[in-house]
Amino acid sequence: MENEFLKSRFDITRRHFLGKMSLGLGSVALGSLLMPDLFKSGDEGVPQISGLPHFAPKAKRIIYLFQNGAPSQLESFDYKPLLNKMAGENLPESIRQGQRLTGMTSGQSSFPLIGSHFSFKQYGQSGAWVSELFPHMSKIVDEVCFIKTMHTEAINHDPALTFMQSGAQQGNRPSMGAWLSYGLGSENKNLPAYCVLLSRGRGNGQGVYSKLWSNGFLDSVHQGVQFSSSEERVLYLKDPDGRDRAATRNMLDKLSALNSLNYNQFGDPEIQTRIQQYEMAYRMQTAVPELSDLAAEPDHIIKMYGADCLVPGTYASNCLLARKLSESGVRFVQLYHQGWDQHGNLVGEMPLQAEDVDRSTTALIMDLKQRGLLDETLVIWGGEFGRTNYCQGKLSKENYGRDHHPRAYTIWMAGGGVKPGLVYGETDEFGYNIVRDPVHVNDFHATVLHLMGLDHEKLTYKHLGRRYRLTDVAGKVVSGILA
């Protein structure tokens, strides 16, 4: 609807448009931003590799809503009434089966089981269980595919988070977004292919690290670009006080003339690239602020996401911004919401965390759907591991905590080629072990790449003698969740 309007407003041919660009008429940047197709493929910016995607993609873009710190599956989507019945009893060794524990609970003399403090109900056609902490999400279960059987190898945040994002617990590997930027490039040459948004909840937090959106050994052009909550969304984007757009334009014209003289003398193609990169930077300076102007969204959209979405740096605001970035062709939008590490006071903290994300996550799905974008956008929600079915620390009637649990946790996906209304996999009655359809982190990565039209065994990069993959040496596409 909106796009149609814009097309008529900028009814110019691509060639004509690019012709203007090369004259340095940056004022038309608006058009390029809103009609990202104009800059698709090859002219400049992020290079694309020939022969990719490997096959027709189901999803064109990803929004990954990372729940940093690891939300408990037992208080959200994996309903285990047995734990309520057996509350206080010790975790049977037949269930634990030698699972290694973190230093936070390995010294505990007992491992008292504890069920969810929050009630569960079934929703939708799929009959998925959702706890009372997520009243909004419960309404969209038929859009969502729950994977209850994610499992990982790491038991601490740093390695687990690094594993989820880069396919390796240690080492400076490219993150998922960097791989996608490398493999598929950017749909919109005025914006980075890979954007990162951070927010912080009210629960116990564990921090994030820029290596999580690192390009690793890939070119730094594939680095995730952090969008901050400050007025200057992208680092160094703003013209300094006292230099307006026209002055910057004038400066760039002079600069371009100087650089061209140097090119004539030295003939280094890098000089021409540099000139082009300045032009793109100039266009970004217009494109990004326009895009991040959330207040310009209509009221009904603001209502959907909640009033918080106008407060920069909140999760709600990041969800709305994620939609706008994604809609404009950003290949991979990565959110991190911190505060999900409930070792203690789970009963106090988890409702706050859930409240932060419930409405706006749901709004994002509905918003994408109403725009006809959900089909081509893969949305992922989840953390780096699960939480133990036993209590960490003192178990009381009112409160408890849960330690890290690598063997089974729940994440969900929606849109972009994933079967909607599906609950995939099953854990045992204790919510501790997987009884059916396990999904390893490598499998998760293989599946995500598959949805984007990439064969995880073929998307490789040779670095120091070895062909690296996001999935390292393992990974199977989880065909059971494909639409």
């Binding site: 952090q226 901050s228 909550s229 680092l235 030295f266 003939g267 690239t273 930077a281 003698g465 070895r466």
Partner: protein, 771 residues
């Protein structure tokens, strides 16, 4: 006007020339006629890349019990068909390997379809020819000790300055090219000054050099630059990446550490021109030398620069093993340019390094009395044991190069061995709690046998093995890295991988000659670098002519001078130095210059003193890039944009990308704007003449005078800006209010106009390029 046919003809000639040259190059490198196929040059790269994964050194992964990486394996009869042989020397048609790579049958073809690997026709042809010529295997070039050959004869007897040039020129001549003319004096001075000191030559030095018409004018400048203290800083900047130096521990809470006295030592060591063998011996085993000095112990901080976790709840042994792993991998990459880490979980797939070899090397670094987790961030350990505490007395008496600011002692992590040896086992699948066979300290005999009686079975023995002149790698690897830093590309392009999967040297004889010459002259680093910059090769102009761009776009033949973008640190230093803002103080605790707000705060766990970025003020804002504080989980963002290392692990070759975010940094970074402003103020204070001021600024930044066209563009721009600001003086006022350096000017309008011009000069491609 050219007719179409003429134009086509021109193109054809270019294509033919290209083909001729590439064929010639291959032939030359093989050391024989164009038709002779060389295992190391032509065949091993193909076999290694496409076959060794399943038919190589890793016995556990080996398919069909067949290996192609050794002569014995390849000549053997097939296990399930003793009548057939993998390779029958001289007879490709009877060689199973050729039959299988040449077949059209997808069920039979090698590599198998599902491996996603393929051989192209040219490669199949090479293998056929090689087998027909007798399938001669050779040891991997990098494991054969270097031989010092006499420099080859060349046609042009005038061009060469030293031996380097003869090797280089001989290749250029064989390719039918000629070297570029020498760079002009201004440009060569800029190049050599940035390469040696990381700073632009001062305007005084520029003028002195231009006036000096003596024969050895250039050499005098080179000597002068090598003796500047800035040389040590420049060299140390590179070493910080190798040593994965940082000011925080890494991992999630990422607390503060104080390893900077070790960094001060590195600067000192380069400035004192410690020989390379001493430099690395001290870092690897200074503590094990007889009666080690405090300085020697401090040097071992190298092996404690790895990340250390402060995440409560980790399993102690898992992380202790991780640290030893990091040291082992760093050792392999930093000094040997080998990917040791590939043998951590299984035998190496390409190189002759067994998993057992990996853990034998691991054993040297496994003797430290250390813990995986000393305490979480609440303990706020700046230096986990073992450590040394550096007192003011130490600094006064022995460690005089440490720039300690106050009377407090500074703890620095160092190496130490436990009195009782810790047993080392192979770790199955590389997992910390799955010990296998016990191993003794040792190093891969494929490189050079390690005799524990001769060397001693500890880190000092390891260092002795490393700097043994018979070691085929140590000298080559370092010489190549320095070549990379000066010429923009290593003689071996993969400067971190001299193994089977690495690239062949472009000038193998030159590499060997340099490696031996370096050792023969006492591993003298300054001497090595001087030989680089004195060469005619180095002093060529970097103009890229059409023919050379077509034939040799990557300048492999070295028929022109280097032209490369400066590193993140150098760009900062260039700006500060040319504007006069640079504070030349050497060493000391790392500093926190301007940084966009909220970067640390938005990602922190909230724990520890580094949860918030507390920016420094005054002089600390204007220090060289090497002193910028590196918090591992959130390194300075502008540096990452310019391909700086995040210091997560050892790095030996930074990328050199060209991106729009880089343009944004130079356009809007406060310190660059501030430098332009302060520079403008200083110029105006001494001279009201705008033309002269623009020329002066240009000369300080680009190290040459502007030509007529450039001067006109800049002067026109100045007039534009002056007019704009005269109409809107408050805009000028806003613009010059950038940065914390006190404003002295009373004329904001003139200052702002000149500031804009200078800032534009900083943004020129040439300003951030060594050319």
């Amino acid at each position: 006007m050219l007719t179409r046919i003429q134009r086509f003809g021109g193109l054809l000639i270019i294509i033919l020339t290209l083909l001729a040259v590439s064929c010639q190059q291959r032939g030359e490198l093989a050391g024989g006629g164009g038709d002779s196929i060389d295992y190391n040059l032509h065949i091993r790269p193909i076999l290694s890349d496409r076959c060794f994964k399943c038919h190589g050194p890793d016995a556990n992964q080996r398919k069909a019990n067949l290996r192609l990486d050794t002569r014995e394996g390849a000549y053997a009869a097939l296990k399930d068909n003793p009548g057939a042989h993998v390779i029958v020397p001289g007879n490709s048609e009877s060689s199973e390997v050729f039959i299988r790579i040449a077949t059209a049958d997808t069920a039979m073809i090698m590599p198998p379809v599902k491996s996603n690997l393929k051989l192209d026709e040219n490669e199949i042809g090479l293998i056929r020819k090689w087998i027909d010529q007798g399938a001669v295997y050779k040891k991997h070039w990098a494991f054969i000790p270097p031989k010092k050959l006499n420099p080859p004869a060349v046609d042009d007897k005038e061009w060469s300055t030293n031996e380097i040039d003869q090797f280089v020129l001989s290749r250029i001549e064989r390719a039918g090219l000629k070297p570029n003319e020498p760079a002009d004096k201004e440009r060569i001075l800029k190049r050599v000054s940035f390469d040696i000191t990381g700073l632009p030559p001062s305007v005084k030095m520029q003028e002195r050099f231009l006036k000096d018409i003596s024969d050895n004018a250039y050499e005098k400048i080179v000597d002068e630059l090598l003796n500047q203290k800035a040389y040590g800083e420049k060299m140390a900047t590179y070493w910080m990446d190798v040593a994965r130096y940082a000011d925080s521990h890494g991992y999630q809470d990422d607390g503060l550490r104080t390893m900077w006295p070790w960094r001060d030592w590195v600067i000192h060591a380069f400035n004192e021109n410690y020989s390379y063998d001493k430099f690395i011996t001290w870092q690897l085993a200074g503590d094990l030398l007889p009666d080690p000095t405090k300085e020697q112990i401090l040097a071992t901080g190298f092996n404690r620069n790895h990340k250390i976790t402060q995440e409560g709840g980790v399993i102690d042994e898992e992380y202790r093993v991780e640290y030893v792993t990091d040291r082992t991998n760093t050792f392999g990459k930093a000094f040997l340019a080998l990917t040791f880490e590939c043998a951590k979980c299984h035998d190496h797939k390409y190189d002759p390094i067994l998993q057992k070899d990996y853990y034998s090397a691991f054993a040297f670094f496994n003797q430290v009395p250390e813990k995986g987790l000393v305490g979480d961030i609440t303990l706020a350990s700046l230096a986990d044991p073992p450590n040394m505490k550096i007192s003011s007395e130490d600094v006064e008496k022995v460690l005089t190069f440490i720039n300690k600011k106050d009377t407090a002692t500074v703890p620095v992590m160092v190496m130490k061995d436990m009195p009782l040896k810790r047993e080392t086992h192979v770790l199955k699948r590389g997992v910390y709690d799955a010990p296998g066979d016990r191993v003794e300290p040792g190093l891969p005999s494929s490189i050079m046998p390690f005799d524990s009686v001769e060397y001693g079975g500890n880190r000092l023995g390891l260092a002795k093995w490393l700097v043994d002149k018979k070691n085929p790698l140590t000298s080559r690897v370092f010489v190549n890295r320095m070549w990379q830093e000066f010429f923009g590309r290593g003689l071996v392009k993969t400067s971190g991988d001299f193994g089977m999967q690495g690239e062949m040297p472009s000038h193998p004889e030159l590499l060997d000659w340099l490696a031996i010459d370096f050792m023969d002259h006492g591993w003298d680093i300054k001497r090595l670098l001087k030989s680089f910059v004195m060469s005619s090769t180095y002093r060529q102009s970097s103009v890229i002519k059409e023919d050379k761009r077509a034939i040799d776009p990557d300048n492999i033949l070295l028929a022109r001078g280097p032209r490369v973008r400066m590193s993140a640190e150098t760009i900062r230093d260039m700006v500060l130095s040319s504007s006069g803002l640079l504070v030349g103080e050497i060493g000391g605790p790392s500093v926190k210059p301007y940084q966009p707000k909220g970067i640390w705060e938005s990602s922190t766990s909230g724990r520890g003193v580094l949860a918030r970025y507390v920016q420094d003020h005054g002089d600390k804002l204007y220090r060289r890039g090497i002193y910028s504080f590196i918090k591992r989980t959130v390194p300075p963002p502008g540096m990452l944009v310019f391909d700086g290392s995040n210091r997560d692990q050892c790095e030996v070759n930074r990328g050199r990308t060209n991106t729009p975010l880089q343009a944004l940094v130079i356009m809007n970074e406060p310190v660059i704007l501030e430098s332009a402003r302060v520079f403008a103020e200083r110029l105006i204070e001494n001279n009201p003449n705008a033309v002269e001021n623009i020329t002066s600024a240009f000369q300080a930044i680009l190290c040459r005078k502007p030509n007529e066209k450039e001067a006109k563009i800049l002067m026109d721009y100045y007039q534009d800006e002056l007019k704009t600001f005269q109409q809107s003086p408050e805009t000028a006022g806003k613009l010059i209010h950038i940065g914390e350096y006190p404003i002295t000017t009373k004329d904001a309008v003139v200052t702002a106009a000149l500031m804009q011009v200078i800032h534009t000069i900083y943004n020129m491609e040439e300003s951030i390029t060594k050319s």
